[in-house]
């Protein structure tokens, strides 16, 4: 009896298919990494932190599996609430900013969902009307940091504690895209354009960043752009490419943010120019940085290559994009995409140069000196964590079949030699460009902030409220006068009815 009720509840409210199970596994893995790193990175009130994480895990599982709008929304709000509480480990200000901005986002999303429900979409599923799709892009805009709405992402993700940044950047922002995969399987041009804008804006900002976590946050925006393109192209290849990209970026960003925690502790600084001699000080972290960034820029034999290849292929074969008034736009799109790839390779290489390869050719004695200056010694759990991330990335690169075998259409092999040549050429080009720019060393930048926005809104709201108050509250007898006036107005109006 009880079992049947539970089964009935699950059947009527959840979808369980291969795609969701993949996301489920990825999400759990990513959270497990962050939990491992939290063991050393979160020092006080660890038990409460793990409790919040349990709530977070349960909620994101419901978000992934649910097909009931209400359940989905409740679970997503729980994700927001639990991550907000996790941000309290950095401070009230940050948690407050995050909460307010997410509350804005969920407010818009609630209206959009209700509009969808009243238009007959009782369950989460493919949406046919274009205007509703665009409305959903607006609704998810703040939550999953689409273009125009991502202003909150760099400040929050760069200031949060390392494990929380890893959660936020690695998985929470992806949840919106996971829902997009279900809502817009047929593609949407608006999402496509937003994706390109995100790639370029995020890429350029990443290239200019000197603060490591800000760099990571901006690169998140740029990489989310690829997902948006993949979904927006509405092609089966793009679709699978964006699934890959979600997994790739999730794992890579988690690894990077976890590493950022160790690096910042080691050097006491967040500037990438201060990361000297990583190879001798934190070998394992350096290796993880190398692997994760190679994954992000799409190096062959890692999963990032597959995702970008598939997205590009999907974009090329989208027919309605190809011709506008019989002008062939195919080459143009290819060039734009190549430029985007160049940008992401460029910022990855730039970071790798400053952090890893700038001073790797020092003498043995000097290296020994650096070794003695170590500040933060990687604990056992930290080592385990980094090794697990590296192992996972390499394994997925060698056996992409782990994912593709369950999604039948997305079979992919390294047959195309053109992709390799393209990548090598882009890498070479970016090396040349960086050489010309002398590594593109930028000024030390401030951590981006959007707090002034809230202050402004708060102040103007307060002023409006004050003015409304002064306008409405007249003398007592004027207030009383409202009663007969209202009554007479009502009687007059009603007397007009025959």
């Amino acid at each position: 009896m009880g079992v049947r009720i539970i089964k009935g509840f699950i059947d009527s409210n959840f979808i369980i298919n291969e795609l969701n199970l993949i996301f489920f596994a990825t999400g759990l893995l990513i959270t497990a990494f962050t939990l491992l790193s939290a063991y050393t990175q979160i020092e006080e009130k660890r038990r409460e932190y793990y409790f919040l994480n349990t709530i977070y895990i349960m909620s994101f599982l419901v978000v992934i599996f649910s097909k009931n709008w209400l359940l989905f929304f409740v679970a997503w709000e729980m994700v927001t609430l639990s991550t907000t509480l996790m941000l309290l480990w950095r401070g009230r200000g940050l948690a407050g900013q995050y909460f307010i901005i997410q509350f804005f986002g969920s407010g818009i999303l609630l209206v959009v969902i209700v509009v969808a429900i009243s238009n007959g979409y009782a369950e989460i599923g493919a949406i046919n009307e274009l205007w509703l799709q665009n409305l959903f892009i607006l609704g998810f805009g703040i939550k999953s940091a689409l273009f125009f709405f991502f202003f909150w992402l760099p400040p929050i993700h760069s200031q949060a504690p390392a494990p929380v940044s890893a959660i936020l950047s690695g998985w929470v922002v992806k949840l919106g895209f996971i829902i997009f995969l279900r809502l817009i399987p047929g593609g949407n041009s608006l999402l496509l354009i937003l994706g390109f804008l995100m790639i370029f804006y995020g890429g350029i900002k990443t290239l200019q960043a000197s603060d490591y976590k800000v760099l990571l946050a901006y690169s998140s925006i740029s990489q989310l752009g690829y997902i948006a393109i993949g979904i927006g192209s509405g092609n089966i290849y793009g679709y699978i490419g964006s699934i890959f990209q979600i997994i790739v970026h999730g794992i890579a960003k988690t690894g990077l943010f976890i590493g950022s925690g160790y690096l910042i502790r080691e050097y006491g600084s967040r500037s990438i120019y201060d990361f000297k001699q990583i190879w001798s000080r934190q070998k394992l972290t350096a290796l993880s940085l190398l692997i994760c960034f190679s994954l992000l820029m799409g190096t062959p034999f890692l999963l990032g290559y597959n995702s970008k290849y598939l997205i590009k292929y999907g974009l090329k074969s989208r027919l309605d994009l190809k011709y506008i008034n019989t002008i062939d736009l195919g080459p143009l799109i290819t060039i734009i995409f190549l430029a985007a790839t160049l940008l992401s390779v460029l910022y990855s290489v730039r970071f790798l140069y400053w952090a890893l390869f700038r001073d790797c050719m020092v003498k043995k004695q000097e290296r020994a000196i650096y070794k003695t200056k170590k500040v933060y010694f990687l604990k056992k759990t930290d080592r385990l964590n980094l090794i697990a991330v590296i192992f996972l990335i390499l394994m997925l690169g060698l056996y992409p079949g782990l994912i593709t075998s369950s999604i039948k259409e997305g079979h992919f092999d390294y047959g195309s030699i053109a992709g390799f040549i393209e990548f090598v050429a882009i890498l070479f080009l970016s090396l040349v460009i960086l050489k010309g720019l002398a590594g593109y060393k930028t000024e030390k930048s401030q951590i981006p902030s959007f707090n002034f926005l809230f202050n402004k809104i708060n102040k103007s709201l307060y002023r409006v409220s004050r003015n409304v108050y002064n306008f409405i509250y007249q003398d007592f007898q004027y207030q009383l006068l409202c009663i007969p006036l209202f009554l007479l107005l009502l009687l007059f109006w009603l007397s007009l009815i025959k």
Binding site: Y473, Q474, D475, F476, Q477, Q479, L480, L481, P484
Partner: protein, 111 residues
Amino acid sequence: MFYHFIFILLFMLGLYTILVQDNLIKLVIGLTIMEAAIFLWVIATNYRGGIIPILQPGVIEADVVNPIPHALILTGIVIGASTTALLLTLVIEINKFATVITLDVLKGLRD
């Protein structure tokens, strides 16, 4: 019709008193006038001559005075008396704080 007219006149007079007079006691008087207007109106319009309203065998309902309005008005008068008493108590209390019981002195009534 005459009674209705008088009722509206008295009611408006009470309302006018509340809206225009400055003195708190006069405000209370205005409220009392409004109440009295309603009571007078109900009694006057519902009066019809007859015998004492005790339902016994042999008494037809049409012959007796209608007792319900009177019962209602009695209740209404009790309520009116208690509100007036409470209001006057409040005026006395305000007099302790303010010494002058006019509205233009009592800025606290505004917000």
